[in-house]
Every structure is written in C-alpha cells, then in structure tokens.
C-alpha cells in the first residue's frame, strides 16, 4: 500500500502526539506549582521559627552580656539560624540561594530558603537569619519529568492496546465491508450482501454500497443486453443490404466502375459484419457463455491455421519460420482458441509489409508470434476495444481485445513486446499445458 496509513494508526499517531505535547507542557507547570508550594511552606516555617526565637529572647529579659553569651552559644549550636547585631531596624527579607554544603561537601550545592528578620532587645537591634534546605530546582524538574515520562509510556501502551481492541471490534464491520468490495467482480454479476451491524454509520454505508453495487450490476447487464440486441438487430438490415448488392450485380449492363463500387461496398459490409460479430462475441465472453473445459490440441489447430495463413498471405511473400511442439494439449474452448489463433495470425498479415519475417513458436508453456516491423505499437490501450494500435491499417479494432478476453477467461496472460525491430505477441499458458498421456 506504499505510504498509505491505516485509519486507526493515523488517529493513534495524532493522539500520541497530542498527549506528548500536553505532558511535556505539564512538566514546567508541575515544577512551578511544586516549587511555589515549597517556597510558600518554608517561608511560613521560617517566619514561625524567626518569630518564636524573637519573642522568646525578648521574654527572657537578659542583660546585654548574658544575651551576647546566649546568642554566641545559639549560633554555634544551630547552624540553620544565625543571630547577629544590626545597626538598625530593617524590614524582613526572604531569598533563595545555592550554597556548598559545609559539612558534607560531596553533596555539592544545596538550595536554601532564607528569611532575615530584625528585632530589638534592650534597645539594641539584632538580625535573625533562618534558613532551610529546599529541594533543588533541577531535582524537582527531574523527578517530575521521570514521573511524566512514566505516565506517558503507560498511556502509549494503553492507547495501542485500546486501539487494537477498537480496531478488531468496533471497526470490524467496516473492514468486512471493505473486504467484500475488494473481492467484488462486476463481471460475476453476483450482488453483494453485507452483514447487519449495530452501528448507524456502517449501516448507512453498507446500505448505500448495496444500492450502488446493485445499480452497477443492472447497468452492466443492460449494457451487455444492449450490445447483444444491437448486434442481432443489425444482422437483418445487413443481410438486406448484402442481398440488394448481389441483385444489383446481376443487372445488365454494368460498367466496370459500377462493379467496383459494388465490390467496395461489399467489402465494407463484410467489415461491419465482422465488427458486429466480434462485439457479439465479446458480449458473450463477458457473459461467460463459453465453457472452458475441453482439451484442445493446439499443435494440430495451429498447423491448420498456419496452412490457411500461408495461403492467405501468399502474395505478401513472408519468410515464415515455425517451431511447433507436437501434441500440445491445453484446457480451453476449441472455438475460442481457434478465434484467438486466427486473430493473432491475421494481425500479422494486416500489419506486416511484403517480405517480412514471421516466426511462430509453440511450446508446452507458451505460444509466440513474432513479425518484423518498423516501430513499436502504442502500448497504451493496445488491448482495449477500438484501441486502434496503428492508424495506418484499418482493422476492426477488436482483434486484440478479443485475444486478451479469451486469454483472461482461459487463465492465460498475453503480452506485447517490441524488440530487435520485431513485434512479439506471446500467450503464456502460466500453468504447464496438459502433458500428453
């Protein structure tokens, strides 16, 4: 299917992309939130500690000296708080710093939330610094990222799992319909019936598909019947025209010119008759009105055809070479195989110049007819009805279409090649021809 995406894979991919985006955005959001809570809580904590120390010191009502001793002792014992003399009263300040851990240097930088507040005892100003270790930003980010990615992968797994379940259950009727349409062959004329489904959209889809297919079959049928009827209806007027010309030929006197006109008209009528017969044949082939199960001796049939071919082409002085394997038996329909061989050989007569080389080869695997030519045929539409491969020589325009149709129905493949200034038509029997037993 090349670069085609399955419907569900496409939605899955979009979902995953969106989920990744959302989760990625959530990382800074979570970080900011966690950090804010941290800071807020620690600020609160520091304020309580600072305030308690402040009030306790003021309550003690110590002398200056005793106070100094106490502060000195305090500072030695409680490294997270520090009381120092200040020159004047300042408003509180809070900040956030990174500092190397004095006691466990291996820990590297630590982050601290700090509060500096001021108070007065005995008319002197002091500052108290309360600091508290706070989680480092990168650690927070890292933690959140890890959790986020973990959830992302859980989600991914879930999506894939759910997708598969949806695909196999919910979308099953859709895929069933697809398969039915894929295997539908207009030429078989078999209407398609879809299994009932509980889903409104699929129900509508299937209903409309059924209608569409039924209409197609009807149109195809009408077209075939039309071709058949038209061909039949043409036969009688053609017969009249032909018989009138035959009568005209009996009249006296008839000049050579008049005879020539009659002759030319006869020839055109023959051509129209043949086109008509060929259209009818194609309609019948489309209808599969030929059985395909007789063993045909292609070697013998081809020898007869080549005899006729040599006779009909006598004035063209072809150099004919042939290599016909004996007793090549193929499964097919004698009439059709004969028509195919005739068409192939008549093509050569029609499209080859005088003195051309013709090579006919039959093996148990293929039939090949090669004739020298000057330019490659227009391959596009070569086997189509009225595809007119060459404009130089008028034909019925149906010969190759018939050859291909017969090949198709017999399970053979027909190919055209232009190599070494030669046209080559090859019928490949695909499966080896029936062995002579």
């Amino acid at each position: 299917m090349g670069n085609m995406n399955k419907l569900l894979d496409l939605t899955l991919r979009k979902f995953i992309r969106y989920a990744a985006l959302v989760l990625l955005c959530s990382i800074p959001a979570y970080y900011l939130l966690v950090d804010l809570i941290w800071k807020h809580e620690l600020k609160e904590h520091n304020r309580i500690v600072g305030e308690t120390v402040k009030q306790n010191l003021q309550k003690l009502a110590l002398s200056d000296q005793a106070l100094q001793e106490k502060i000195s002792l305090w500072n030695q014992l409680r490294p997270e708080t520090k009381i120092a003399a200040a020159d004047q009263y300042h408003p509180d300040s809070t900040y956030n710093i990174y500092r190397r851990n004095k006691y466990i240097p291996a820990k590297g930088l630590d982050r601290f939330q700090v509060l500096v507040t001021y108070f007065a005892v005995n008319g002197k100003y002091y500052s108290i610094t309360v600091e508290n270790n706070i989680e480092e930003s990168y650690e927070t980010v890292l933690g959140i990222a890890v959790v986020t990615f973990l959830f992302f992968f859980i989600m991914l797994g879930g999506f894939i799992l759910i997708n598969r379940r949806i695909s196999s259950r919910l979308w099953q009727p859709f895929y069933n319909s697809l398969e039915k349409i894929r295997t539908f062959d207009l030429q078989q004329q078999q209407p398609v019936f879809f299994e009932p489904t509980g889903i409104a959209e699929f129900h509508t889809l299937n209903n409309n598909l059924e209608k569409l297919i039924a209409a197609n079959i009807a149109t195809y049928q009408q077209q075939k019947e039309f071709t058949e009827n038209a061909s039949h209806e043409l036969q009688t007027p053609l017969a009249i025209a032909k018989s009138k010309l035959d009568m005209l030929l009996q009249s006296h006197p008839l000049t050579a010119e008049q005879s020539k006109i009659i002759d030319d008209t006869h020839h055109s009528l023959s051509k129209v008759t043949l086109i008509n017969k060929n259209l009818l044949l194609l309609a019948k082939l489309d209808n599969r009105q030929f059985s395909n199960n007789v063993s045909v001796n292609l070697s013998a049939l081809l020898q007869d055809q080549i005899l006729l071919f040599r006779e009909l082409a006598a004035d063209k002085h072809f150099r004919i070479k042939q290599k016909i394997a004996p007793e090549v038996l193929i499964a097919g329909n004698t009439t059709l195989v004969e028509i195919m061989a005739t068409n192939l050989l008549m093509n050569v007569i029609k499209h080859s110049k005088n003195g051309a080389t013709v090579y006919i080869e039959l093996s148990h695997h293929h039939l090949q007819i090669i004739n020298s030519g000057t330019s490659r045929l227009r391959e596009n539409g070569l086997f189509k009805r009225f595809g007119a491969a060459s404009v130089n020589v008028p034909g019925t325009g149906l010969g190759l279409a018939i050859i291909q149709k017969i090949s198709d129905q017999s399970g053979w493949t027909v190919t055209y090649k232009f190599e070494n200034n030669s046209h080559s038509f090859c019928i490949d029997f695909n499966r080896p021809a029936l062995e002579n037993s």
């Binding site: 039949h232 017969a239 032909k242 030929l249 009996q250 005879s259 008759t273 009909l312 005739t342």
Partner: protein
Amino acid sequence: MKILIIEDEIQLAQSMSEYLQAENYICEHALTYRQAMHKVLKHNYDCILLDLMLPGGDGMQILEEMKRLKKMDGVIIISARGAFEDKITGLQLGADDYLSKPFHLPELAARIYSVIRRRNFGNNNIIDENELQINLLAKTATINNIELSLTKKEFDLLLYFVSNRNCVISKNALAEHLSGDIAGMLDSYNYIYAHIKNLKKKLNDAGCRNYLKTIYGSGYKWEI
C-alpha cells in the same frame, strides 16, 4: 423445384426470391408465424428457408411441428441470432443446414442446391453439365470421363459456381465462401485469384469449354 421463404423482412424475402427465381426455383413466401405454419402444413416444398425470429412465434416450433408430422421437406435455418445452441437444436430437430445473417445470395443458392441434391438424388448424386460431370458423394469431377485432380477448395468452388448458374458472383461472396469471417479481416481478395486461376486451368486443360467467365471488375459467372 419449390422453395418456401419464411422471412418477416419483406425486402430480404424479395431479394431472395428474385435471385432464386433466376436459378429456376419457384418461390413462395410467408411473412408471419401463422402464414408459415399454414403453408408448411398444407403444401410440400423441396426446401424451406426458415427464419427463427418471426412475428407471432418462434421458428423452432415450426420445425418441431414438422418433425412431429414427419414432413420430409428440406430445411435451412436462417437466423440473425447466430448462436451455436440454435444451430445444434435446429440440426437435431431435422434441419439440413444453418445460415447466419447476413449472407450472400450465391451462398444461399449453393446451400439450397446441395440440400436439394442430397435429398432428391440419394446415392446417384451426379451433376451433368455437358462434358462435365460432378459426383457429389465421391467429391470428384470428370471431363469426358477423365477425372480432374482438384484440391478440396477447387472442388468446392466448382460446385459453388455450378449452383449459381448464369449469375454473377462477386469476389467478396467467393472470399466469404472460402474463408468465412476472415474475409472481413483482410484488405484484398488476392488469395482467391490463385484458386480460381488453378481451377480454370485444370478445366481448360482437360478440354472443358469455357463456362467460367471472368466479368471484368465484378466477379465470375458460370455461363451455360
């Protein structure tokens, strides 16, 4: 020889009866199923030309009725359907030959000739044309009792000419007689000249008078 033409297309019936009258046949025609049935049951014909698609009924039923009544007239089915099954059914029901439309009048005359000869002359089916004798059973021709060595195609042509005595036969009719549909596929009739030239030469060499005339530009004529 009496012939009944059962054909609903009056134009075609007219041409057929005109041409056949020139070949000394007595022609009647029926345009509908009822007319045809009436005539078939009431009279005897040497050959009945039966179109299958008739207003008022299927030509095949006429054939069935004839078979039921054991009527022995010769029948050539003339059909526009050209279906293989029709041909088989028709021949099984006792028809002598089958001709699909469109056809050449000389072809029709040749078919009628051979049906009538076969039915009326049985084992002694020999055409006598002065010094020329044609044995239809043995498929041989003799001139003054000397046998001609004719190919299958040449013998076929000879019979074709003889059964269209004194009528001009177009090259196209000959080509279609010899090669059927292939005539429509080819752009020239060159291949028929060789056969006719050979036939003419063999007849002349054996001392046959020049019955087979070339009508310049039109075709050929067996004049006797």
